[in-house]
């Protein structure tokens, strides 16, 4: 086989390494953090985030440089792409990673996480896996990237040792994700069997030459892409493969949730676009009905689930399910315009979702409480800045102009109509109406509802069965081990209803968190008022992907 012999002859050139320079920088930063962890005294571990941040910024600068002057070719014998779609995805992932790193120091300390070095290293490695997955030009790299990011995220999800919910999240994510990865891998193997290639361009050429003209798809190919669809749908949390999402998003450290809800989506959707929209584009008739059904189910199911949630973190998890549905609309549409719309939506989703999770993170207390809807009552009067950021981000998620969320929804639905998928656009628009309801409910609570008097911890939080709130607060701060600047607020006695409510969060919001929130806020508003640049970049990226 020609392919095999060329692999064995292959020697990487300097060009090959240059084309994966952003990934290399992130990898270097991860290793550097691990080393620095040994050198920095325990008290100054927060600085590790800065080391990681510098790496991420450097990688972003290099990515931007490659956008301007890179050759856009593949590296390592057609395994990894450095086209503009890859660079676009890299930039969004790096943005998410940077904000995740900025969110972390304050949150990590409050939650009593002591393994700073491992935490930041794993976060950077997860970003590396996402970047790899998004730049994959071969099924093998798709899978390799997926595993790198997933392994890191399993551990990160379970990182709060003192919190059973976090352990549960990591374990659940691990088991279910392995299960889904098996489907994906099996699907890839069958696709390889059907087409004789793992390189995406080769698959594209094969199906374009053999399958598409006759319309006679081999069962092997159908089974392969069906199983791959299952794997991808799990990763992007589409219904009916979404069940893990709320549990993991709620249980994981919120800084990780913020980062992974965005980064995983970007990586998985760009890889999905590369595999389905591009490589398997000629046989779209074979896969689009399945993804069509999944998209419809996801839009309806995600929004319906979200409407009934009382916990804001859980609501945001289901909102990410619903958003996956809108993105799938773009995938099903399959035109170049839809691909650009998908990228626009991903970028929009990154800014507004990071902002929303960032506020939740800033409010969450050391015992993991403080994210129920009632805790947001009257927030605007206690924490005006946080309430304002959350309000803007939720309005953006609801798709109200002039925020970036509106630009994203506009792009996706417009592309769907232009691409002849009117029904998907209508379903999307109608389910968005449902979405308004639960986003606005939080805004309503923050601005228009009186804070409630003290009450016991909400019944359904997975705290030790039902001991009095005082015991749980005491337990968590003792097991947490780190002195938290937080009075025993949950111990408030009923006798004094005017006393501090359970929702009160006297802890300090760190400057890094503020900076990250400000970045997310500015991006959400600025890209909404002037989305021209974003649309331009996304269009170029889509062109590079479809040649």
């Amino acid at each position: 086989m020609i392919l095999a012999s060329s692999v064995f002859d292959f020697t990487p050139t300097a060009q090959d390494w240059l084309r994966i320079l952003p990934e290399l920088i992130v990898l270097g930063a991860a290793l550097l953090v691990l080393l620095a962890d040994l050198a920095i005294p325990a008290k100054g571990r927060g600085w590790l985030a800065l080391v990681g941040l510098l790496g991420v910024v450097a990688a972003a600068v290099v990515t931007a440089g490659m956008w301007i002057s890179g050759d856009g070719l593949t590296a390592f014998n057609g395994m990894i792409a450095s086209d503009k779609a890859a660079l676009f995805a890299d930039l969004v992932i790096l943005f998410a990673a940077a904000l995740g790193l900025l969110f972390s120091p304050g949150y990590v300390e409050r939650q009593g996480i002591r393994q700073h070095g491992e935490y930041y290293t794993l976060l950077l490695l997860a970003a590396l896996g996402m970047m790899l997955m998004a730049s994959a030009a071969s099924l093998l790299i798709v899978f390799a990237g997926l595993e790198v990011l997933s392994l890191a995220l399993y551990i990160l999800s379970a990182f709060i040792v003192a919190r059973p919910r976090s352990q549960e999240a990591g374990m659940k994510y691990f088991i279910l994700s392995s299960f889904a990865s098996a489907f994906l891998l099996y699907g890839m193997a069958l696709t390889y069997g059907a087409t004789g290639a793992t390189a995406l361009t080769a698959i594209h050429d094969f199906v374009a030459r053999h399958a598409a003209p006759t319309g006679d798809f081999r069962p092997l190919l159908l089974a392969g892409l069906g199983l791959m669809a299952v794997g991808f749908c799990f990763k992007v949390s589409a219904v009916p493969f979404q069940a893990w999402t709320p549990d993991v998003y709620v249980g994981a450290p919120t800084s990780i949730t913020a980062f992974m809800s965005v980064g995983t989506k970007v990586a998985a959707f760009v890889a999905l676009a590369r595999v389905f929209m591009v490589a398997l584009g000629p046989v779209a008739a074979a896969w689009s009905p399945v993804l069509w059904a999944v998209a419809v189910l996801t839009m309806i199911g995600g929004n319906l689930y979200a409407v009934t949630q009382r916990d804001v973190k859980r609501m945001l998890a289901y909102s990410s399910v619903a958003n996956a549905g809108y993105m799938l609309v773009a995938v099903v549409t399959g035109t170049q315009q839809a691909l650009a719309a998908l990228l626009i939506y991903l970028a929009a989703y990154a800014t507004m979702n990071l902002g929303a999770f960032g506020v939740v993170l800033a409010l969450e207390r050391s015992d993991g409480l403080g994210t129920v809807l009632e805790d947001f009552n009257g927030l605007a009067r206690r924490r005006r800045g946080l309430a304002a950021v959350l309000a803007v981000c939720l309005l953006a998620l609801a798709g109200i102009p002039p925020t970036v969320g509106f630009a994203g929804k506009f792009a996706v639905f417009y592309a769907a109509i232009a691409g002849g998928r009117l029904e998907l656009a209508i379903i999307g628009v109608l389910t968005s109406v449902l979405g308004m309801f639960y986003y606005l409910r939080v805004i309503w609570a923050m601005y228009f509802v009186e804070p409630q008097p003290a009450r016991p911890a909400p019944a359904f939080v997975v705290a030790p069965a039902a001991p009095p709130a005082s015991a749980s607060a005491a337990a968590s701060s003792s097991t947490g081990g780190v002195a938290v600047a937080e009075p025993r607020i949950a111990t408030t006695v009923r006798a004094d209803p005017a006393a501090v409510s359970v929702a009160e969060t006297p802890h300090v919001v760190y400057p890094g968190t503020w900076l990250a929130l400000a970045l997310a806020l500015i991006a959400t508003i600025a890209l909404g008022i002037l989305p021209g640049a974003l649309v331009d970049l996304a269009t170029q990226a889509a062109q590079s992907l479809l040649r």
Binding site: A223, A243, P246, G301, Y305, P401, V433, M436
Partner: protein, 680 residues
């Protein structure tokens, strides 16, 4: 020609930002100055535009300034530009002019309210959004203003957020408005797909001066070669009308407007009578070429509008809350505006919009003055005999009422006459029975309007006072702002203090801040119709380049129309006099099934509750409990508790619900595989 429209937008926006960010710390006087001053300057800018427009030749009264490029990528190109043309000039004058008067009125009305700064910042935001809506030069930024207006309305209806009813009303308004927003969004997608652009000029008007062509409509001087299918135009126009109906409370999307009266009375005056609800009327007039070109749409508009006018008028006849009477009256009058537009009298709709803005704002302000004087009482069964105590309010109310009832020569007479004339003309030229029916509905509604308006006036101001002692202070106000204590709103209900000397001893008429806006509007309600009489229709000619010429009504048709309209209104007033004016008004409950049917608002709200709201909630609960809660979650909550105190995390997980999640994945995968097998 001047185009200072940007100031009409920027000043209220600046006011909103300043008050929103720093209002809490500013003294009240300064808040009032900023709040009203920005709107007055915005009005000045709008007036300057208007005057310079009058000095320009009629054919070139368009100034379109592009400020920046929102998106330019491939075929997609949308600019942010502001348009100054006759239609937007009239709308901006009404929005900022009436808006300014209501701001001044609010200084007095909200004087005791702890949320003073919040109120003015929201009001400024509203004026900004509304100005954007009417001044945008393309459909996309129209949508931005459209959504902004909805948001402002949500904030202001729910202003007294401690009242559960206010919260519910605000939510209802928002949901209905969002339905309209998405109708508009879909219309925009279709417009873009069909025409490849969203600018008004390119789609609707063309520009003779620059030689630009346009695509749709009869006013188009140089039509392009694109001829979209009639069905597409119909779909676009219908979607636009869905949006208009939601914003302007037409059937069946009307349910939010009466409930919106939960907001403070200046809000009712500004948003739910004078400006916001007119956005739909504006949209139809703006898209007049489209509506005219789209086959079969205008009769639908007419049918919906006529139905709404009659429906709302009948309900208004049996309401006892004075603000609700006015709310239903607003719905009914909006129906008139759409009826005029449906009969191709687009400028008559705008004409009635302007006069209605004067007299309805006046009526709401007067109603607010009554409510203010009676410490929050809104039920007319507990009023009566207030004429001597509130003379200014009484005469203002009468002026507004005569205008609403369309009595010669008050403002409403001319505009309603123009609308009904257009319908009658349409009926006699086409000879289609449907237009005659619509005309009959219009006349019947005119009679009902006279009845409910004067039932209200007689019930409130004549006869004997039927209420109790008035609490010493305050109107319908919110709780103290940094709410430390549970809300104890000083309202009419705390009048157990029994001192039966004169229950109205403490009642006083309005102060200066409230009186002057009312007097100005009262003057406008009297003379505001003279710019559109059938003898010299200045407004119709002014709007003709945009909205087309209205059907020409003259001779016998004109005389017949005036006679019928006046007769119906006077008959209605006479009935009201017999029932409520000549003797002590009685509002005793009745068993009359028709009245009960009207009192229950035709059971539309109940129907929606049973058919839409409850099933949705039920489905959501079912999903949460049975799918998430049991089938998929395996009861995370229950098991989670066990996990917590037994620390058997791993064991519980592996034997517990993670399995169910995996099962769901497996089932999904099986479904997909089965699908492929079935395919073969």
């Amino acid at each position: 020609m001047l185009n200072l429209t940007v100031f009409t937008l920027a000043l209220p926006l600046a006011g909103f930002l300043i008050l929103g960010l720093f209002g809490r710390r500013l003294p009240r006087a300064l808040i009032a100055w900023i709040g009203c001053g920005t709107i007055l300057l915005a009005f000045a800018a709008a007036a300057a535009d208007f005057i310079s427009m009058l000095g320009t030749a009629q054919t070139s009264r368009v100034a379109d300034t592009t400020f920046f490029n929102w998106v330019a990528s491939g075929s997609l190109r949308i600019d942010f530009g502001l348009l100054s043309d006759p239609l937007s000039a009239i709308m901006l004058l009404v929005v900022t002019g009436v808006g300014f008067l209501i701001h001044v009125y609010s200084i007095g009305y909200m004087a005791d309210d702890p949320g003073y700064w919040r109120f003015f910042s929201f009001l400024n935001f509203f004026v900004f959004a509304m100005a954007l809506l009417v001044a945008a030069d393309n459909f996309l930024f129209l949508l931005a203003g459209w959504a902004g207006v909805g948001l402002a309305s949500f904030l202001l209806i729910g202003f007294w957020y401690t009242r559960p009813s206010a919260v519910a009303a605000a939510t209802k308004a928002f949901v209905v408005n969002v339905i309209g927003d998405f109708g508009l969004l879909l219309a925009i997608f279709l417009l873009f797909k069909t025409f490849g652009t969203l600018g008004y000029e390119a789609i609707l008007y063309g520009n003779p001066a620059s030689g630009h062509s346009c695509i749709a409509g009869p006013f188009c001087p140089a039509p392009l070669a694109i001829h979209p299918a009639g069905a597409t135009l119909t779909a676009i126009a219908l979607l636009l009308f869905v949006a208009a109906a939601a914003k302007s409370a037409q059937l069946p999307l009307h349910v939010w407007l009466p409930d919106a009266m939960e907001g403070p009375t200046p809000v009712s005056a500004l948003i739910h009578a004078a400006t916001m609800v007119t956005a739909g009327v504006y949209l139809v007039a703006r898209a007049a070429p489209l509506f005219t070109a789209a086959p079969g749409v205008l009769p639908i508009v007419g049918g919906v509008a006529g139905g709404t006018a009659l429906f709302a008028a009948t309900i208004a006849c049996v309401q006892t809350d004075i603000k609700r009477v006015l709310a239903y009256s607003t719905m009914s009058q909006l129906g008139y505006m759409f009826m005029g537009e449906a009969a191709s009298g687009f400028s008559t709709g705008i004409f009635h919009l302007t006069t209605h803005a004067y007299f309805k704002a006046l009526l709401f302000m007067s109603a607010g003055a009554v409510i203010h004087a009676l410490a929050g009482e809104q039920d007319m069964r507990k009023m009566g005999g207030l004429r001597r105590k509130l003379p200014t309010t009484f005469w203002c109310f009468v002026a507004g009422g005569l205008a609403l009832a369309a009595i010669f020569p008050f403002a409403g007479f001319w505009s309603k006459d123009a609308i009904l004339g257009a319908i009658l003309e349409r009926a006699s030229t086409t000879g289609i029975g449907g237009w005659y029916v619509l005309y009959a509905v219009g006349i019947l509604t005119a009679g009902l309007t006279g009845f409910y308006t004067f039932r209200l006036i007689f019930g409130v101001f004549l006869g004997q006072y039927r209420g109790g002692e008035i609490a010493p202070h305050g109107a319908e106000h919110g709780p103290p702002e940094p709410a430390a204590a549970p809300a104890s709103r000083p309202n009419g209900r705390g009048r157990e203090v029994a001192s039966r000397r004169d229950p109205l001893a403490r009642v006083h008429d309005v102060g200066a801040a409230m009186r002057w806006p009312m007097l100005i509007l009262a003057v406008l309600a009297v003379i505001g119709g003279f710019y559109g009489t059938p003898f010299s229709n200045w407004l119709g000619d002014f709007l003709a380049p945009i909205a087309g010429t209205s059907p020409d009504v003259s001779g016998g048709t004109l005389a017949l129309n005036i006679a019928l309209g006046l007769a119906a209104a006077i008959l209605g007033i006479a009935l009201a006099w017999l029932r409520y004016g000549a003797r002590q008004a009685s509002f005793a409950p009745t068993r009359n099934p028709i009245v009960v049917f009207f009192e229950n608002r035709y059971y539309v709200d109940a129907l929606y509750d049973h058919v839409i709201v409850r099933p949705l909630l039920w489905a959501g609960r079912l999903l949460r409990r049975d799918l998430e809660g049991v089938a998929l979650d395996g009861g995370t909550r229950g098991v989670g508790g066990v996990v917590g105190w037994s620390s058997g995390v791993l064991r519980a997980l592996q034997t517990g619900y993670a399995r169910n999640y995996a099962l769901a994945i497996f089932l999904g995968a099986t479904l997909i595989v089965v699908y492929y097998v079935m395919q073969r």
